[in-house]
């Protein structure tokens, strides 16, 4: 036990470890905020689809040798999120099919572009990092940290300001439209925020694991709590605690950050399921 603490103290003397810890928890916080809405609106897979879009955009940015790929990735992902969330039930291709098409398509095209145009000597490594997140927390760059911090703060502010609207649009979008509220505008805000979360979270856990960060805390909280507010608050705490634990474990054990966090999230979900079962019996 003593050894572990010594090792942690040693690591936390490095500023980039501290910053990474802060960013990690911030990302976990904002991704869990929207998780509740996505799960309830049956959009659980949207995170997955959008992250594949982001992967495709990153591939293009890499091929174009952009210094900071965020300026291409963010707009592209936002546009795709808007198309997916706002096309609704009226489109010819139904939501899940459109999502599957988009996510597989962009993944394939992205990998293709990387293979054809990339000048990198370690292509497999690059792809693996983009898909599963940084292999070590220490490879997060300072720019990543700052951008993640700012975008996370933005997401939290948007969520707090539009909390009641987000509840209404999640519970009953038709009612909102019918009673004269511009639900399209709020859908747009929601889609944009989700896209921002996805792009930011990609740095931490990688494209393939984002859904877990968005979905697990919300599902865990829904096992136990019964009001929207309690579920939201609880999922934020679950997400932040799981992310912090995951990062600590990954530092100590030298495991990849993303998959460690997700593993802790799964453990959290099992724990909450158990608690939920006990409560409903008692």
């Amino acid at each position: 036990m003593h050894e572990i603490i010594d090792k942690l103290v040693l690591y936390f003397q490095f500023p980039f470890v501290r910053y990474a810890m802060i960013t990690g928890t911030l990302i976990a916080l904002c991704s869990s905020l929207l998780g509740v809405t996505l799960v309830l609106k049956r959009f659980s897979f949207i995170g997955d689809g959008l992250s594949h879009v982001a992967f495709g955009a990153i591939a293009i940015a890499t091929a174009m040798n952009l210094t900071n790929n965020l300026f291409l990735v963010l707009p592209v992902t936002i546009i795709c999120a808007i198309i997916l969330l706002c096309s609704g039930q009226n489109s010819k291709i139904k939501g899940d099919a459109a999502l599957a098409m988009l996510s597989v398509g962009t993944l394939a095209i992205g990998y293709l572009i990387l293979n054809v145009f990339s000048s990198s000597s370690n292509l497999a490594g690059d792809v693996c990092t983009t898909l599963f997140g940084s292999t070590s927390i220490l490879t997060l760059s300072m720019t990543d940290v700052w951008l993640s911090g700012i975008l996370s703060a933005l997401v939290v502010v948007v969520f707090l300001v539009f909390y009641h609207k987000i509840f209404a649009i999640t519970f009953d979008e038709d009612f909102m439209t019918a009673t004269g509220v511009k639900s399209k505008a709020y859908n747009l805000i929601l889609a944009t925020t989700i896209a921002i979360v996805i792009v930011v979270a990609m740095n931490l856990v990688g494209a393939l694991l984002i859904s877990a960060l968005v979905i697990f805390p919300a599902l865990s909280a829904m096992r136990v709590f019964k009001s929207f507010r309690a579920v939201t608050i609880c999922s934020v705490f679950v997400s932040v605690i799981c992310a912090a634990l995951g990062i600590l474990i990954s530092i100590l054990a030298g495991t990849p950050v993303g998959s460690t966090i997700v593993a802790v999230d799964i453990a959290g979900f099992l724990l909450f399921s158990l608690v939920g079962k006990i409560i409903s019996r008692g």
Binding site: F175, G180, K226, F228
Partner: protein, 231 residues
């Protein structure tokens, strides 16, 4: 007689539908339907499955656009003065929310860009919950309520959104006879208080005994409103 329709419209008609043709994916469901709803009416729309009742209601609410024809809202009624009781969706059946959270969400159309509800707005919601007899359930989880209680919660939410008109889509679907009668009585009380009611119903016997007008779109192309001659 276009002049008379225009006249009624300007003076008292709340909603005037002219030559509506509705449908989806190019298929016509309702053809050339015209009718007028006045202030204080209790209009019951009946018809078989697939006759286009829900499509008609969604068009009235502006959720769908008619293939042709028009809907004119009279006397400057705004979209933010409409209350709506939709059919329950699958999503709502396992939604983690308290009754209070659900009812409060009916206040959204009053808030504009303001991120929170005022004390006065909250008071309206609390009053509506008491009025519908669900005041004691305010803290309970919505998905754990009985069907009748859930409908009352949604009705309280609709009342938060309006003082003038309520549109109800099959409000008693899936309720037991006792809860059905209770809900009909509540709706009748609201109508007596001056709220215009437009209701879709399968249950012709019951709804006809409460409604002031019946619009039967089950019979093909029937566009007449049968006036109930009660009393």
């Amino acid at each position: 007689m276009p002049e008379t329709i225009q006249e009624t419209l300007n003076t008292e008609a709340l909603i005037s539908c002219q030559n509506l043709t509705l449908g989806y994916e190019g298929k016509i469901v309702i053809n050339d339907l015209s009718f007028i709803v006045n202030h204080g009416d209790y209009l019951c729309i009946t018809g078989q499955n697939g006759s286009g009742k829900s499509t008609l209601m969604k068009t009235l609410l502006g959720l769908k656009t008619p293939m042709s024809g028009q809907i004119i809202w009279g006397n400057g009624i705004k979209a933010t003065e409409i209350g709506y009781l939709p059919q329950q969706t699958q999503i709502q059946k396992d939604f983690p929310a308290t009754v209070r959270e659900v009812v409060y969400s009916g206040l959204i159309n009053r808030t504009g860009l303001r991120p929170f509800y005022t004390i006065a707005e909250k008071a309206i919601a609390e009053k509506n919950m008491r009025k519908l007899g669900i005041g004691s359930l305010a803290g309970r989880c919505y998905r754990e309520l009985s069907g009748g209680q859930q409908q009352r919660a949604l009705l309280a939410r609709a009342l938060c959104a309006t003082r003038k008109i309520l549109l109800l889509d099959e409000p008693v679907a899936g309720l037991d006879p006792q809860a059905t009668l209770e809900l009909y009585t509540i709706i009748k009380t609201l109508n007596d208080e001056g709220i215009t009611i437009i209701m879709i119903s399968h249950d012709i016997d019951n709804s006809v005994s409460f409604a002031s007008n019946v619009l039967d779109i089950g019979a093909q192309q029937s566009t007449d409103i049968m006036k109930q001659n009660k009393e």
